[in-house]
């Protein structure tokens, strides 16, 4: 799970307490993925149980600090090196389309149109975000957005192709 490994990546630099991990994570993803504090603490508990992190003494403000262990570093490297596959049904629209065909749903045209609209919305949001990342010099986020935009462009072409066949 990526929250777990993101926390390990944040602890890789230096020990941090829970709230720092929450804000650190949100900074990493440019605020696009809000994390609630509860999620941070349950993840930290599991990481501690698996000996990937250790808790240190409390800091001056009585907050518990966490540090990454050697096993935690190895887990992080292992995860970083593991390629990520993509299942045919990872995109929920694929399974929707399959089910629509299965039940001979006669509203497929509007399904496709609405899906195209949603993709266009995503493209507009992401191109704007790309502009912001470009202006703030966050080249890594810019690369991620470029990847997402290429996927959206492919989705759009695919939907247009289906539209032709309907």
């Amino acid at each position: 799970m990526s929250v777990k490994h993101s926390l390990l990546a944040l602890l890789y630099e230096k020990p941090r307490h829970g709230y720092e991990l929450k804000t650190g994570f949100e900074a990493l993803v440019e605020g696009l993925w809000p994390l609630n504090a509860g999620q941070v603490y349950t993840t930290l508990d599991r990481l501690e149980r698996d000996s990937f992190v250790e808790s240190l003494s409390h800091d001056k403000k009585d907050r518990k600090q966490y540090t990454i262990t050697q096993a935690g570093k190895e887990e992080l490297w292992f995860w970083l090196n593991e390629p990520v596959g993509r299942s045919l049904f990872k995109d929920e629209f694929y399974i929707k389309f399959l089910c629509a065909s299965h039940v001979s749903y006669d509203n497929k045209k509007s399904m496709i149109r609405d899906q195209k609209e949603t993709i266009l919305k995503d493209i507009l949001h992401l191109t704007h975000l790309r502009k912001q990342m470009s202006l703030s010099g966050n080249d890594t986020m810019k690369l991620l957005i470029e990847g997402a935009l290429l996927h959206l462009e492919a989705d759009m072409k695919w939907l247009e192709r289906i539209e032709e066949e309907l």
């Binding site: 149109r113 195209k116 609209e117 949603t118 266009l120 919305k121 493209i123 507009l124 949001h125 992401l126 191109t127 704007h128 790309r130 502009k131 470009s134 202006l135 470029e146 935009l149 290429l150 462009e153």
Partner: protein
């Protein structure tokens, strides 16, 4: 500031009169980044040419920074264009026999002014073409040629940049770079940018999007409008 009132443009082909713009009213604030979209033949490029004084309207008014463009003599229109405007085109329109450096300083040269080496250097750095000064356009990729064209459009520090499909001939990666470059200049120097495009990937860069259809403005939407994305997506889908 650009102010357009009741603008029309007819083209004559033989005996036939084809109205391309049928009455356009439009106001663009100084420093705004506006994108004009619409199907081919909807009049968007014609509007851009009229705004730039590259062509004259059949009727109506165009004010550029308070000056009426349509009532100027050809000579004064050219002077106004050289002072206030920069142009970027889909096919770059660089002069093939001039080097990168000479192309960039060409607008100054045409105006009888000298280029300050510092200014040219700064622009070359900004468009990431330092070291390419003595190359010729044919030695460059499309993306590089468009970056030269952008540098050329800004060398005289115009207050208005008119861009006609600036990413039209470029692949996704190169067009992203060009849009980033325009965004950077816009952010730092606050030019007014009017960009004609049919590329939805470019639309997200603008503050306001104006949608043309059959020679009139059909709709417009601002980035801060609540249903901005839904509205545009519906229009484009």
């Amino acid at each position: 500031m650009i102010n357009v009132v009741s603008l029309t443009k007819d083209y004559k082909t033989g005996k036939e009169v084809v109205p391309v713009l049928k009455g356009v009213d439009l106001s663009i604030k100084a420093g705004e980044f506006v994108c004009i979209m619409g199907p081919s033949g909807s009049g968007k490029t014609t509007l851009l040419h009229l705004l730039g004084g590259l062509d004259t309207p059949t009727s109506g008014s165009i004010q550029i920074n308070g000056k009426e463009l349509t009532s100027q003599s050809e000579k004064n229109r050219t002077l106004l264009r050289r002072k206030e405007m920069g142009f970027v085109f889909q096919n770059y329109q660089l002069l093939p026999t001039l080097t990168v450096y000479e192309n960039i300083i060409f607008p100054l040269h045409a105006d009888g002014k000298k280029a300050s080496p510092g200014d040219v250097d700064e622009l070359l750095n900004a468009v990431e073409l330092k070291g390419y000064e003595n190359r010729f356009p044919h030695e460059l990729s499309g993306g590089q040629q468009q970056r030269v064209a952008i540098a050329r459009s800004l060398i005289h520090q115009p207050s208005i940049l008119l861009a006609d499909e600036p990413t039209g001939n470029l692949d996704r990666k190169r067009s992203g770079d060009i849009l980033d470059l325009l965004a950077k200049f816009h952010y730092e120097q606050k030019q007014t940018i009017v960009m004609v495009t049919h590329d939805m990937f470019a639309a997200g860069y603008a503050d306001r999007i104006i949608l043309f259809k059959d020679g009139v403005i059909e709709a417009e939407v601002k980035r801060e409008d609540e249903d901005y994305a839904r509205f545009l997506a519906r229009f484009m889908a």
